[in-house]
């Protein structure tokens, strides 16, 4: 009985993995978002470091930030799109009439997001080595895995928040994704260390998990972190945000069914 229950849940999770896989396969634009823009970002910033004739460790500092941003951006896309596509196609009520939970939805979409971001991570890492001489693997596989996992969880938080916004505000919620990522660019130390931020913004950056994951990995290439254990801080924060984001999404779904927004979005 338990195995049957487990099988059913795995199939339901796989449904959302299948959906995103089909969307990826059928929409060229989606592949653009996953591959093209991150590559352009890396190349342009990498060339900027060359123009500015930066020291190798400074190049490492910046490339770590650029690639981390791409991982978070790509990872959240698949979770966001699992709901946004349904909103844009007005098919949300058909799917929510089925006995699925947000656990199935987020897990299935996030699995595809992890695969996409891992592929892009590998490609960008290879490119950063051949083009700009920086090797991620030099820091060791375990630190790299810890860093990547933190980024993947951060992307899950962003994706879930966008889904919650979609239930509340409909198709315009994808603006939320852009906004959240933009805030991270400004505050998390993507291109510069957070110590250069004005004090009020430094306080905000301390609330963002990505800040600590970046400090952790950069500490391995010669840039000391601002706190003793940035990895623990990053994972603690991301766990809290995962719970809060999931709660926000559950509330948004409840509100959409209470107010009738769900039906309106499907007309």
């Amino acid at each position: 009985m338990y195995l049957l229950h487990l099988q059913t849940n795995l199939i339901q999770i796989n449904a959302f993995f299948f959906k995103i896989w089909l969307i990826t396969r059928k929409r060229v634009f989606h592949i653009f978002e996953i591959l093209f823009w991150p590559a352009i970002g890396l190349i342009s910033v990498g060339l900027l470091t060359r123009f500015l004739d930066l020291e190798p460790n400074m190049v490492s500092f910046i490339l770590i930030g650029v690639i981390a941003l791409s991982i978070v951006q790509i990872g959240q896309l698949d979770i966001s799109y699992i709901i946004l596509y349904s909103v844009w196609n007005k098919s949300l009520k058909q799917e929510l009439a089925a006995p699925i939970t947000i656990f199935h939805l987020i897990t299935g979409a996030w699995m595809m997001g992890v695969i996409h971001s891992l592929v892009v991570f590998c490609l960008l890492s290879l490119f950063s080595f051949y083009a700009f001489g920086f090797r991620f693997l030099d820091q060791g596989l375990v630190p790299l895995a810890l860093f990547y996992s933190g980024l993947a969880l951060t992307s899950a938080v962003v994706g879930i928040i966008v889904c919650a916004l979609a239930f509340r505000f409909g198709g315009r919620a994808h603006v939320g994704a852009t906004s959240i990522v933009s805030i991270m660019i400004l505050l998390s130390g993507i291109y510069y260390p957070v110590r250069v931020l004005p004090q009020p913004l430094k306080a905000l950056s301390a609330c963002i998990p990505l800040t600590y994951f970046l400090e952790y990995f950069r500490s391995l290439v010669g840039f000391p972190a601002s706190i003793e254990n940035p990895l623990a801080a990053g994972y603690s924060l991301v766990a809290i945000y995962l719970i809060l984001a999931t709660g926000a999404m559950l509330y948004a779904i409840h509100y959409s069914k209470k107010s009738g927004i769900l039906l309106k979005m499907s007309e």
Partner: protein, 324 residues
Amino acid sequence: MIQPAIEIHGIHKIYPATGGNPATHALKGIDLTVDHGMIFCILGPNGAGKTTLISILSGLLYPDAGTGYVGGFDLLRDRRRIRWIVNLASGQANFTDNFTVEETLTYFGMLYGLPKADRKKKADELMGFFELGSHRRIPFNQLSTGLKQRLALAKSLINDPKILFLDEPTVGLDPRVSLLIRSRLQEWHQKRGTTIILTTHQMDEAEQLSDRIAFLRDGQCVRIGGAEELKRSIQFHERITIRGRGLERAPELIGRIPGVSDIRGDRNQVMCRVDSRQKCLNSILEAVLPSGAIIEHIDITRPTLGDVFVALANQSDTDQRVLF
């Protein structure tokens, strides 16, 4: 005692105010009981609350007050369990635009936890049942309206639901496709005994398919019964039209017969309402024939469900007007 398939009491739904629009009290205390295996039709004018009611029963909308059971599960506490045993199809349904027919059914099969082999078998069975087989690789956005609706119905049966909600399943379809869909639904219902809750504006569809009908108006249930029962509950009158020659005196002669009213006529035709065809028709013929009139044709128009619809939709709470 076997619990009904659906039993609800005092269901209220108020849509909150949005923008400049005031709050809307869409359902005002609906009580309903639907037995297992029944086809139950919900009729009513636009804005009566039909879609709201179906959405609540299928778990897509939460009521603001009331209690109920769907398939034996509590409407408020067992929502996910209800979703396992129900499914729905609405008119002009939407799916992911570039998924093919087969991919759509596969996807929904997965949402209902069907293992791969069962999913494939079910999808093939439903594509055959609704004549979608030759379109299995066509994306949704390239299907005609009729095919889209057949896909929506196929999807609604993917989990062999105990209770099926159909919200205007034939809206916008041509008569041939509507007839196909109706016959398939009847066939499915006869084979599986699925309880079906149906809303429609097609009166012949309601009359053909349903065992019982509920009429909603302004968020309230004003009548429940079988089609014939509903027709009798409104004081409907049959209309008799006699065509022929020499009928000039017919109105005067017929006017003396009890149970005959609203008489209109000329030398070639006379029309009247009768309380009872059985009682009045013989009396009318006995009155008219001796006057020398020649009767060529007699029409007896029985009230239709559409007449019931119009009557109930227009009726005020205290108005029990006789129609015709």
